[in-house]
């Protein structure tokens, strides 16, 4: 009788304690997962981690004019920008530009995203494709487009003049305003994409429920729609902020040399003055700015989610 039982239940034989089969399977599974991750890890290592480490290492070298780099370990490249009010202003301008562009871009993209998230039209995917179609042309081309529209003889100024609203052309290019206008439009597809993924909790029945409980259209928006879409709004803002403080094409072209942000400074130091350690140090400062905003973002989303 005992023998029969043992034969019927091989899992209880010596060496196979209860659960050991599951453990062995879990070990095999872990090995499979690790193997599948290796290509991605290798790719990131080569294309991201190593260059970043190299950049950080570079920022501690001493750089001189004409591209002479003296290997060593010095804080020269950090002391210089941190002690120079010009670089403080550049950093502040960069941050401010990111915030302004982020806020305006999200505000303009919000109604579009809300419409796209809510519509039950059969053209929904087509409409979404149209909303993000600007991504098909490069930012350079779109920036040139804005230069033509915003220039002294551009569409905006000539229209306003023709209407007799202004006598002299408004200065809409070669300054921060022009850069911000350009960045807002260029970032909108990203804002829409980032936000629409965060609008998942929106459900027409929730708005109907609020209405049936006595909320006006405005109250439905402030008490239900907006709070439910806030995670998406934050993600959209973060996306636009990060993109706009790191881009140098639009500030360079629409700024016409008179707009200095960290990205344009880094570009100038790298390709113009060939002071790589200094450019590297500015890049690290930009990275810290990113990090700070991401940390705030994470705290906020955690609060909203919890």
């Amino acid at each position: 009788m005992t023998t029969t039982q043992t034969q019927e239940r091989p899992g209880l034989r010596a060496g196979n304690t209860p659960g050991s089969l599951e453990k062995a399977k879990a070990r095999r599974d872990r090995r499979t997962y690790t193997a599948l991750l290796i290509p991605a890890i290798l790719g990131l290592l080569v294309s991201f981690v190593l260059p970043l480490a190299y950049m950080i290492r570079m920022s501690f070298n001493h750089g001189e004019a004409d591209g002479v780099i003296i290997e060593g370990f010095t804080l020269d490249s950090y002391i210089q920008p941190l002690s120079d009010p010009f670089y403080w202003k550049v950093t502040l301008d960069t941050f401010q530009m990111g915030v302004v562009v982020g806020v305006v871009c999200v505000a303009l993209s919000y109604p579009i995203t809300l419409f796209l998230a809510r519509t039950t039209s059969k053209y929904k995917s087509a409409l979404l494709a149209i909303a993000i179609a600007p991504l098909l042309t490069s930012a350079v081309v779109r920036t040139y487009g804005w230069m033509v529209i915003l220039g002294s003889n551009g569409l905006v100024n000539s229209s306003l003049e023709a209407l007799g609203l202004i006598s002299a052309p408004l200065k809409l290019t070669n300054n921060m305003l022009g850069v911000q206008i350009g960045l807002v439009e260029i970032s909108m597809p990203y804002a829409i994409l980032a936000m629409i993924s965060g609008f998942g909790r929106l459900n027409p029945q929730l708005e109907e429920a609020a209405g049936s409980l006595g909320a006006s259209k405005f109250q439905i928006f402030t008490k239900v729609t907006l709070p439910l879409t806030l995670p998406g709004v934050l993600t959209g803002f973060l996306m636009v902020f990060v993109l706009s403080i790191s881009t140098f094409i639009t500030p360079t072209l629409l700024g016409g040399g008179s707009v200095q942000v960290l990205a344009t400074e880094i570009y100038d130091q790298t390709t113009g003055l060939l002071n790589w350690p200094f450019a590297a140090a500015l890049s690290v400062i930009l990275l810290v700015l990113f990090g700070a905003v991401v940390a705030v973002y994470q705290r906020l989303t955690k609060k909203l989610g919890g």
Binding site: N203, Q205, E208, A209, S212, G214, Q219, K223
Partner: protein
């Protein structure tokens, strides 16, 4: 609690011109404190009707009147109704107490009174201890009760329930059924309840409106709907039914029970000729002699005997199927071209087998001539 009377007059909804209306000139009255079920298959217009009453959808024509006041043009947030949605629609960014307080907040009820009424509403659904919970930490049954509390705390003119039990598992559904019913009876809130589940409607409602194709087929109490269906659709949708074609041969006078028809005239006993299978008794509205109508008999009202007894032979048939479920046993009996269903409580007696002969008969009061359907051509 407010008790309001709801009248719906010629309510029509056409989603697009040229399309058949989803709700077609529907009229009905709901008495104060009643729970009325709108019952029908999907697409019959029951949810559309409810949404128009709630103000979530504009009617194409007709009017909705609450306590004598026409509210057809009143926006949803001014109607003062409480609605429970199929998905419950609890606000995920608020806790339980905030959800329940929402309607009071919108009505600018003072905070002290708000918290008192929220606590009372949560106690009513027995979930006072969950006030600070997040919505997503609740089970389906708990969410459903919170949704009910949220709708009732504002003391609505009408309570509207849109398939409130369809997302619960079978066991919980039964519990919530009686709970909703008892809360409704305590608050005496006039309630309109949409469901596709006949058991739910029979169990909970004071009156049932059976809907089909945008029209009300019958609006009556559950027992009348079951015992005296107006049309073949109602008889078929509520419970199980056997349909036979019967030519009415003779009027045998008013029924002993004196059951009254909708028109006020009392029901008559008739002798009918069933598909040439013999003459049997049946019940129906007055004035049916000489017409051919559909006759409905519920499976458990059919008598089945295995041998012909005395004068009451019954319709002879052959048992072709037996389904034994413990409590009941069902027979499929083949009679000529058609198969009839019969059902009984089981007893210790031997269960007949397929192939056995059987004789079917019924009490005249259990065979009902459908008044709502047009006469059928004699077979």
């Amino acid at each position: 609690m407010n008790q309001s009377k709801l009248s719906i007059v010629d309510l029509t909804k056409r989603y697009a011109p040229g399309l058949d209306p989803a709700v077609d000139k529907l009229s009905m009255e709901v008495e104060e404190g009643h729970l009325v079920a709108l019952l029908g298959p999907s697409g019959c217009g029951k949810t559309t009707t409810l949404r128009m009453v709630a103000g979530l959808m504009d009617p194409t024509a007709g009017s909705i009147i609450v306590d004598g006041r026409d509210i057809t043009q009143t926006p949803v947030n001014k109607r003062g109704m409480g609605m429970v949605f199929q998905s419950y629609a609890l606000f995920p960014h608020m806790d339980v107490a905030q959800n329940v307080a929402f309607g009071l907040q919108m009505r600018r009820v003072p905070p002290a009174e708000q918290s008192r009424r929220v606590a009372a509403a949560l106690d009513m659904v027995k979930l006072g201890h969950l006030a600070k919970r997040k919505v997503r930490e609740l089970s389906g049954g708990q969410q459903q009760r919170i949704a009910l509390a949220r709708a009732l705390v504002v003391e609505p003119t009408l309570l509207l329930l849109d398939e409130p039990l369809s997302n619960l598992d079978a066991k919980l559904r039964e519990t919530m059924r009686s709970e909703i019913r008892s809360i409704q009876q305590r608050t005496r809130a006039t309630t309109l309840f949409v469901t596709h589940d006949q058991d739910e409607a029979l169990d909970m409602a004071d009156r049932i409106a059976v809907m089909n194709g945008g029209l009300i087929e019958q609006y009556d109490s559950p027992s009348v709907i079951y015992e005296r269906p107006n049309t073949r659709f109602v008889a078929d949708f509520i419970g199980q039914a056997n349909f036979l074609t019967a030519s009415v041969v003779a009027d045998n006078g008013p029924t002993a029970s004196g059951g009254a028809t909708a028109g006020g005239a009392s029901e008559r006993n008739y002798t009918v000729d069933v598909d040439g299978l013999g003459r049997y008794g049946a019940t129906g509205h007055p004035g049916f002699v000489g017409s051919t109508r559909e006759l409905v008999v519920r499976p458990h009202r059919l008598r089945v005997s295995l041998e012909a007894r005395g004068g009451e032979a019954g319709i002879a048939g052959t048992i072709v199927g037996v389904s034994y479920t413990g409590d009941t046993v069902g027979f499929s009996v083949r009679v000529g071209e058609r198969t009839l269903q019969a059902q009984f409580m089981t007893s210790s007696a031997a269960v007949p087998r397929p192939g056995d002969s059987a004789y079917l008969s019924w009490n005249p009061s259990d065979a009902y001539l459908l008044p709502g359907n047009p006469e059928v051509a004699a077979a």
